[in-house]
Structures are given as C-alpha cells and as structure tokens.
Amino acid sequence: MTASDTALAEQENREQVVNDFSITIGTVNGSGSQTSNLTIIRSIFKMGIPVSGKNIYPSNIQGMPTWYTIRVSKDGYLARVPEPDIVVAMCPESFQEDVDRLPPGGLLIYDQGIRAEVEREDIFSYPLPVQKLVRASDAPRNLQDYVANMVYVGALVALLELEIDKVHQALDFHFSGREKPVDLNYKIIQSTAEWCSENLEKVDPYHLERMEATKNLKLVSGNEAAAIGAAFGGVQFMGWYPITPATGLADMLKVYLPKLRKDPETGKNTFAVVQAEDELAAIGMAVGAGWGGLRAMTSTSGPGLSLMTEFAGLAYYSETPLVIWDVQRVGPSTGLPTRTSQGDVIMAHYLGHGDTQNILLLPGSPYECFKFGWRSFDIAERLQTPVYVLSDLDLGVNQWITEEFEYPEVEMDRGKVIWEDDLEAFEGDWGRYLDVDGDGIPYRTVPGNKHPESAWFARGTGHDEYARYSEDPEDFLKNMERLRKKYETARSLMPEPVLDEMESAEVGILAYGSTDPAVQEARDHLRDRGIPTDSLRLRAIPFTSVVHEFIKAHRQIYVVEMNRDGQVHKLLSLEVPEETGKMVSVAKVDGLPLTAEWIVDQIESMEEK
C-alpha cells in the first residue's frame, strides 16, 4: 500500500461528512454552466441546508475556464473557503489545476471525455461519460452542448443525494415555469442520476441531508435586492451605463419597475430608466432629475465612478440629492473586472475636487441592499446631497441567503422641499442656501413651482445664501462651514453599526460589507483558540459615536477589509487620531472574497506578538 493508499483507506474509515463541505465546479464559460450551478445551490437551499455560491469568472464571454464554488455548512458558515473538498472538473483547460487542488480524501467528479483516467490515488473519483449521456438523451442536437452541464447536476443527485424534486423546483424557477426547457434539462439530470446509481459505487463520505435551516428565507443577489429596494424607495429616475458587476442592478430595475410602478389609475409609468451614452451622462441625468425633485439614482462600478467625479462634486456643492450605487470590483484601472473588492471607499468618500465629503452606506447583505435601496433616497433628500451605496461584486452578483424583505417601517422622507404655499410663509425671505434651522440643511424649491419667488440659479460656482454668484471670501467660508455642519447633522441619520460581543473580549474587529460571513466565522475560530473578540460591522460613513465608543472600549482594534491600503482604517485614523496606536489594518485584495482562515491567521499572529 502506498502512502496515498493509506490516506485513502483512512478516509474510507472516516465518518460520513454531512452538510459540511465545499464544492468547486470548473467549467468553460459561456457554456450554460451558470444554469447548472444555480440549480445546484437552489436545490441545496430548498433542502433547508445553509449554502452559499460564489462565481469566480473570467472577464470573457465564451471559452475560458470559470469556477463556481459552493459551500454547504450545517453550522451556517457561508464565507468562501480556500480549497474545496469536492471538485467537479468539466473544463479541459483547468482540468489538472482543478484536480490538483483537492486535498487527500477529496472527491472528484469529472468528464471522462477530457481525461479517461486521473493519476491521483489519494482521492475518490468518479468519471462521467458526459458525451454519451447527452447523446442518449432526446435533447435536440443544437441544444446538446448547452445541456451537457446538467450531467453533473445529475451526478450530484446520485452521489451526494441532492433531492431530485428540489432540483425540479429550482429548474422551474429558473425557467419561470416554461415547461420545455425545464423538461429538457430535468430529463438529462434524471437519466444521469440513474446511470450513476447503476454504474458507480458510492465510496466517498460526502452527503447532503435535509435540514430546517432555511425556512422562510430567500436566496437572492444583492443587485436584485437593491433594485427591489429602489422600487419601494420610489425611484423615479435611473440613468446608467453597462459595467460589470453593476449591470445586474439596472437589469433588475427594468424587471421590477414596470411590475411595481405603473400608476394604477392611468397605467402610465411613475419612473424612467435611461441607458446613457457613458457614466458622465448617466450621473448628469441623475443630477438633473434629483435637482428637479425626483428620486434619482445611478449605478456603476470603479471605472464608471472615476468618470462621474466632476458631476459628483457638482451635486455635493449645488446640494443636489441623488443615490449612486457602486458595485465595487477590483481596481486600479480596469483591474479585475469580474472580481470583488472594497477598494473604492476613500475615493467615494472624497469624490470630487476641492473639499468634498460624501455620505457612504455600506450594506453587508442582500437584506441591507434592499433596505438601503429605499433608505438611501430618504437620506439623500433629507441631506440634499449625493449618497453613495457601496456594494461589491460578491454581494451584488452572487446568491445570498436572506430574510424576507420587510416593508419600510417609516414614511418616505422627502426632505425640506417647499412648494407654493410654504413659500408664502417665508414672507419673501427665502434663500436657497439659508440655514434656517441651524442643522446646515437649507430649504429647496424645485421646477414647476409657480410662486414668483420660487426659482433659483443652481451652479457649481461660488454662491451666497440666495444662490447668487459670489466670490466674496466671507460668503465662501460661510457656505463651506455650513456644508461641514450638514455633514455633522448627517451622523444622526446614519444606520448604526451592528455590534456583537463575546465574553471577556479585549480586542475588537471592525469590518463592513460582504466580508461579514468570513469575519463572524473567524471570530468563532479565534474564540476557540483563546482570542475572544467583539465585532462592529460598520454600515455608514460618517462614523457615529458608537464607532468611537467601540474603539475606545478595546485594547486592540483589527480593521478587516478587502483592499490593499486599509481604506477604512485610514479614515478611522483621521476620525480618531488619538486612537491610531491601537488600530491595526487587516487588509487584502486579490480578487477573491476573504476567507475566515486568512483573518484568523492574521489576527492570531498579531495577537501572539
């Protein structure tokens, strides 16, 4: 017996592995594998098992290797794990690489049309005669390539006990109940499952088993959630330009708005979506609409946000409300267009030349994408300023488990917009930039107001309290001070951070956005290794007093984020300079979502010092 044989024998004696493993599926992109992958994750979800799926795809339309990683965790840990327990190898180009990634005792399911046999003896492996199975099916010739990927779904049905009725349910959802494609795909899955049962002997330890952990929960992407949120936030104007990974948000708005936002009386639209010629125009239109009194938004990603800079500054300085979604991808420059990051925080916060300071919302789940989807409009209109919602590719594009969306608990806040009657009350002394209430937020009128004193001249040039052109140093100072005051007012409107405490924790982890699953898992491991931690998940900038208190209350603060430079760590150092000594940046971006393992390693090694 070789060493590897021994390892395998040990594995065989090992206990069964139920609902606690990860699968990496390597396929050729553009081959329809996305449908198969979604079908698998949806089926597992409907079996009641906590599951997550991450698409690791190339910036390419057809022909390059693409991976989908699925994590199944009975304990509810849904962050990415570095290496898979199971590999489904369907891509010739990445075949060897994918096989090599398996640890001893891992499970390989592969297309024997790519390689008849694999050399590794320390793993379990099942070859699939993909071509034969597809040929044997009654799929029309022109669709055979497309449905070939359903073969591995069938294999998982037989080998992992993925429930076939759940698979049917998933297909039914995917194809919106259209019988033809559902049947076509289902049949291949079924026949493959039968073939596997007849021809393969199950020797590996991996199993799926029904649970009750996903009851009343939903599986949805952040982009879809954001679009639904915006629809319930009353979005009236959306200007956008296609860019990965933000496109899905606009796509979803185009699905939901016609369903939800036709005027019941007239059947006319209470919204407009315009695909602009570029991001300059996309935000320009949104600024025009926001100035006009509409709930306006745009969505983009890094390169688009760079283009939007000049208008961002204009919106800030003219005090025009709008919502800007940045579904972050990896920069600098075009960077890794199909990979995730949190690299735009500092840029978005200061977007615009001169002294600009912007409001950021940081959703950490699809649920919050929905919530901030509507709430961002309230904040933008209340503060008369652009609000940036920073999602990312992982959150925006991948399917995440979420609670059902809850109806906005508060009335819509349209801010200090005044109409004809309100103007009368000002008795001739209304000024667009007059700070009447002492909160830095002036009153504004919008076009269509027929009061003879309602009009004002919006501009990006220096202005006084009555929106008149001014180069007077006093006017300039006063206006900029008011804008600063408005920023202070903003703190009271920000969603508070989410706190979680552990007994006798001395150190705190401060993180935000899509890294949350990895952070929470890391905390459990750290506790097991004798390092209990408290955690604060930031949901907005400006920071609130809760953030200050959290930092003060801990010996050490680890700021975990998915960028190179520790961008929130830097912003916190500016916010609480007296505490910089205790704040440590735990930051990394390589395109892949952070893993708990990496966070644990980082913090453990620093705690040991």
Binding site: K218, G288, A289, G292, L314, V446, G448
Partner: protein, 344 residues
C-alpha cells in the same frame, strides 16, 4: 401681435422687466448679449410664464449668460460640455415646462460633442442654443472646433484644422429641428426662437454670435461685419402663435406652413431657391453650396414634428413626476409580499 394688456404688459399681465435677469457681465457688444435680449423678448411676447421655463447651460461666456435673463425661471448652470445630460434628467421632473439649453461652440463641439450627439438621438424636448463664436471666450480666445480653417488670431496664430459645423452635425444626428441664425439679425432670430420653443423635441439652433474681444476681425467668419455682409436667409420665416389666424398679407410667395403640436404655425416664404425642410439631403447640399459661395446661410434647415420625444417614449404620467405624492411612488405592503413570494 396678440392683444396685449396695457402698460407694456403681456397677456399674463407681466411686463418685460419680469423676464429680465441679473445685470450682465458679458463684454459690451458680445453677441451672446443680443441673444439674451431676444430670449427675453420672445418669452415675453409668447406670453409664457417665466416659472414655466427651465434653463440649463454648460460652462463658458455663453453658458453663464442665462443668469442675465429670465431670473424667475429655474436654472441649472452645470458643467463644461454636460448641459445635455443635466437637461435630459431634469425634463422628467416636470414635463409641462419648456426647457431651454444654452451652450457655446467649445461647450458643444469640443468637450460636449458626445452629449450633444446623444441628446439629439433621444429627441429630448429641449431648445438647444449654441452661441457660436469660433473661440473659447471665457478662457481668453483659443480656437474652438468651429473656428474656420486658416483663421488667424493675434495670440493663437493660424488655425490649421477643418471646422466642425453644428448644423451638419445636427442633421447627421437626426435632430428633429435644425436651424441657424445670426445674432446680428434679431428679426429672424426671434422668429426662429419662437418656432423652436413650440417644437416638441430637440430643437438645435446654431447662432453665430461674435466674440468682440477675441474673434471679431472683419474677415473672420464669426464676426459681425462678415455676418452682416454674407448672411443669406434660405427663406423668410414667420411664426404664427396658436389661435391666431394667418391673415397677414405675406409679401412673398408662401412655400410651406408647418403646424406645430401646440397649434402654432411656421410660415415659410420664398426668397431665392425653394428648399424642402423635410429633406436632410437638401439641407446638406445647400450647405455645401453655401461653403463654395462663401456665404452664411440662415433659417430653418430641417424639421420633423412626427418623432416622439423622450418623454413620449418613456410613457410617464401626465401629472409631473415631481408632484406625485409618496403613496403613488411607493408600492404597497401587498406588493412587497408578492415580491417576497416570487423570490426563490
């Protein structure tokens, strides 16, 4: 003229003063000032409430001029070259308002060429005026993209490049109203402005508007004297307001009457050769010949009143979107329940 109220009031009871703006800071004699004055007259004469107008502009001397007229109209003086996008979003706020955009040749034909092209493609209901002086006035006289080849300016030297022609660009981009005027010919300018304000779609007017500080030598294409000596109108254009019968005796042969959506009419009387304003090629041919002859052609080159505007295309409510109450823009609890049920 329509019956006016007494004391210089129009039908709304407003005097011309109520259509003016802040004191101008343009150079004395600047062509842009003359355009500003005509806009004041036209809106006053058309009995449009200033609050029913929105103005937009980019950056430049031309773009800052909206401060000097219609101060009772909402205005957004935005970014260099980006007036079109700003206006595109804003027209959705209240589509019952008339939108007017003011730009320069630098603002439109250089930095803003992209947005200029796309606003025409979408047929945004906007009167888009290019105050064309062949130079960047505000940054002290550099050549703009419309400067003529061979133009020589003291500080800039010789312009070696071929010019961009706003009218040809507009024709090529399917603009639904394309005209050229000369700010030294206020009578025609007024009529064209009125016609353009009645157009429900994008109306481009290229107005040759001399910059007296940087490009007004007698032989320069964008100068007053050259314009005066070389302007040739392609027709005599008269605007007839809605409800008013055409009973005037025209001194020339009437070639065509175009009825606008608001019921007003554009009456074209023959001057020289007949020109069909429903054919883009005719306009282009005419322009080519004008170049050969070295003349400045003005008038309405093309009109199409049939194309739907962006507002029509998007099928929005009759009521201005910015007047919709909260309950009409937030779907119900039941709707959210349905959405939740639809999700997987």
């Amino acid at each position: 003229m329509a019956k006016r109220g007494g004391n210089g009031q129009n039908e709304l009871g407003l005097t011309k003063d109520e259509y003016r703006g802040a004191p101008s800071t343009l150079c004395k004699g600047c062509g842009h000032q003359s355009i500003a004055n005509q806009v004041i007259s036209v809106v006053y004469e058309m009995d449009v409430l200033p609050e029913k107008i929105m103005k937009f502009s980019g950056i430049g001397c031309s773009s800052k001029s909206p401060a000097y007229f219609l101060s009772r109209s909402f205005t957004f003086n935005g970014l260099h070259g980006r007036m079109p996008s700003l206006a595109t979003g804003a027209v959705f706020a209240d589509h019952t308002l008339k939108a007017m955009g003011f730009s320069g040749d630098g603002d439109t034909a250089s930095i803003g060429m992209g947005q200029f092209k796309h606003i025409m493609r979408r047929n945004v209901p906007l009167l888009y005026i290019v105050e064309n002086n062949g130079v960047y006035g505000l940054t002290k006289g550099q050549f703009s993209a419309t400067a003529d080849q061979g133009l020589e300016l003291k500080k800039q030297g010789l312009n070696p490049y071929m010019p961009v022609d706003i009218v040809r660009e507009a024709l090529a981009s399917n603009a639904t109203f394309v005209a050229r005027a000369f700010s030294g010919d206020v009578k025609q300018l007024r009529e064209i402005l009125k016609a353009a304000l009645s157009h429900e779609g994008i109306a481009i007017i290229d107005i040759i508007s001399p910059c007296v500080s940087f490009n007004n030598q007698d032989d320069a294409l964008h100068s007053y004297s050259w314009g005066r000596d070389h302007e040739v109108a392609i027709h005599d254009l008269a605007y007839v307001p809605p409800r008013e019968e055409i009973e005037v005796d025209y001194d020339k042969e009437v070639m065509k009457k175009v009825t606008m959506h608001d019921g007003s009419k554009i009456v074209l009387q023959k001057i020289g050769e007949e020109h069909d304003i429903s054919k883009r090629v005719d306009a282009v041919n005419l322009l080519d010949r004008a170049d050969e002859e070295g003349i400045l052609l003005t008038g309405l080159f093309y009109i199409d009143t049939e194309q739907p505007s962006l507002i029509d295309i998007k099928g929005i409510t009759e009521e201005p979107l910015n007047r919709l109450t909260n309950d009409r823009i937030r779907p119900s609890r039941e709707d959210l329940q349905d959405v939740n049920e639809m999700l997987f």
